[in-house]
Symmetry: C2
Subunit: 441 residues, 2 copies
Amino acid sequence: MNLILLSGGSGQRLWPLSNNIRSKQFVPLLKNDRGEHESMVQRVYRQIMAADPQANIVVATGKRQVSTIKNQLGDKVSVCVEPCRRDTFPAIVLACAYLADVKGVGPREPVVVCPVDPYVDDSYFAAVRRMAELAGPGNPNAAHLTLMGIEPTYPSAKFGYIIPAGKDPVSRVVSFKEKPDEQTAAGYIARGALWNGGVFAFQLGYLLKAAHKQLDFRHFADLQANYALQKRISFDYAVAEKEPDIAVMRYAGEWKDVGTWNTFCEVMSDPTIGKVQMDETCRNSNVINQLNIPIICMGLQNMVVAASSDGILVSDKGRSSHIKPYVEQVEGEARFAEKSWGSFTVLDVQPEATTIRIALNSGHRLTYHSHEHRDEVWTIVSGLGRTVIDGVERPVHPGDVVAMPAGVRHTLIADSPLQAVEVQIGAEIDVADKQKYDWPL
Amino acid sequence: MNLILLSGGSGQRLWPLSNNIRSKQFVPLLKNDRGEHESMVQRVYRQIMAADPQANIVVATGKRQVSTIKNQLGDKVSVCVEPCRRDTFPAIVLACAYLADVKGVGPREPVVVCPVDPYVDDSYFAAVRRMAELAGPGNPNAAHLTLMGIEPTYPSAKFGYIIPAGKDPVSRVVSFKEKPDEQTAAGYIARGALWNGGVFAFQLGYLLKAAHKQLDFRHFADLQANYALQKRISFDYAVAEKEPDIAVMRYAGEWKDVGTWNTFCEVMSDPTIGKVQMDETCRNSNVINQLNIPIICMGLQNMVVAASSDGILVSDKGRSSHIKPYVEQVEGEARFAEKSWGSFTVLDVQPEATTIRIALNSGHRLTYHSHEHRDEVWTIVSGLGRTVIDGVERPVHPGDVVAMPAGVRHTLIADSPLQAVEVQIGAEIDVADKQKYDWPL
């Protein structure tokens, strides 16, 4: 099966564990069967591979998520990178062009588009596989577009609804309804309506034909090169609303939209993660501590506490979905980020100094760069590697110190997993103060 | 007036803002009239000086608190240091011997002993002054021991009670009652009983006479030198229980024992301190953030949240008095401490590396020392100073780096307020791994 996984999201709703670099689908708070922590994207990827070991998966995402996706899913995963943010239609077209032009998928082959972050059981991906069959050339009754309709469990005002023509497992779609109020939703459900889970299948040629009518491109490479020139247009507007021949397949298995701390806590395997003590009077509370200082909790009722180097959230679970405006007021850059080369964690910010812990993966290196307005000092803490300072390469070991005054070109190369403490010193410390250079060696 | 301020306390009950170095009386969460934050000990000292600018104050405390007391009250404050922990009687005798032998206080002069951490209004220290007069040679009816009896506001089971002979402002004491249950307490109060606030006055010669009968010493210097040899004995057992002639003076002004987060929150001037956002649904909650990452709070009801480099507390206010066993389970040394030379803050602890921020006060220096099992690196971040490395002195400026492999003798001297980041590297990083040397220059 060909599968496009849409990985978006701003990362505010699971703050402080998600941030503007790490969206909620990358937060490793779930557990697999072996008891190892995994993120939503790792869970979904694992479930897909279990349902179809030959699945042809492409993750459609923006530039900022690429490093995290490769760190979490491995270097072999296919990632289709949007050079900038457009809307869902250009993003899906780009991934379809990638499938056609890079992966050689034929025009009659079915493709399923699926969000990367539903919390589901294994029957969901069996259903996704069935959707690919329904949409494919083997089905004489195939619709142009086949949706997944999730059997509602309550009249939610948070989801869009699909009104099907009948109550058969697969039927034609009569209409779509945007998020209604609860009373209206109850009426829809009485008429057999289904939640729109954002999963849809089509034959690749169908979508590319629609794409060529509305966007200006020839193939994947030129679409990606000229992506910024494409219009912002949603898939619903560009395709679904104009298409008269849409089918829906019912799905009644487990499905949760874990977009807020409140819903995320429901699927966490443990009430606490990290250095946490809860007294015996705590009830229905979750505490996630990514800092290496302890958290003591006493008398919590229906609360979520989450701490990372970006900040600390203490919230009533019911209130936690209202976090967005508060996160927007928090100043500053993310203090933890996964990068293509490893990760960094900000340890301390003073008026004229910032201290950072850098972890480089073995075989990786920083870009070769300099800063205009700050000096930097690396203290190598563990691992073996090399520095290049103004073109001169030297080996480094734990305990070695590398001083880089402003203007000096520098990089660090890891020959094993390597950690360093970086002290930045200057009156104007700014992430934008970075000049990159070609690799010098 | 001669005043002995007893400054003890283990620092567990206001964790994580107090720790085994910084007791609760040093936590700067109150505010003075000028809007500046102050600690309990600073507030009490300020109130005493307002009540009696000539007050002869000696702070009786253990070694670990001396630096913090001098940092908070200034270098001129008299501190009588217990070389080790004994009980209250040896501690009070040591301070009395200090008053007699170091400060030249005469045997008939009255002395008042007072805990350093009551939250009181100014009338309290007017009452303390009155107690000194009542205990002094000018009062023909002076008792050997004069206590302060606090008018109870409710039948508390947390305090000891004094049963007076009558309801006059000053009367003789009939008996003492240890912490009763609430019902018994209500009965005591009906009979005119008072809370024992731990304040008492006597003539200096009276106490020294009792001291020489029970302890083996001649004067202050030899008592301090042989302090560890003295028996552990409480003031109540050694003096109060044996003394038939005790008076009590009623006090009806504001008096709070702010020993727990719950009571401390009542006297905090602001509901939040530090980088904190609370949403509009928070009620009766206090948040103190000493970290430089933000805290977002939503939907808190009757909660206290406190964060420092030692850890994070999230507690229902009513539960917060039960913190002790949880703090005892928290491993490790204090991660923030005031020292005679300034302060340190632990920024990061990794398996083979610890990163610390050091702040040296101008004109101060570290001890001259070395470590056997770890290398250290200083990056000077702000200020001017000098290092001495294996006997060689060099000036240092911001951006300078000083590497000190294991075994190398080193110190840092501040010629202005100076900050440095220290990275410690080694498999066995332990505060006990420190060899001190005589000053080399």
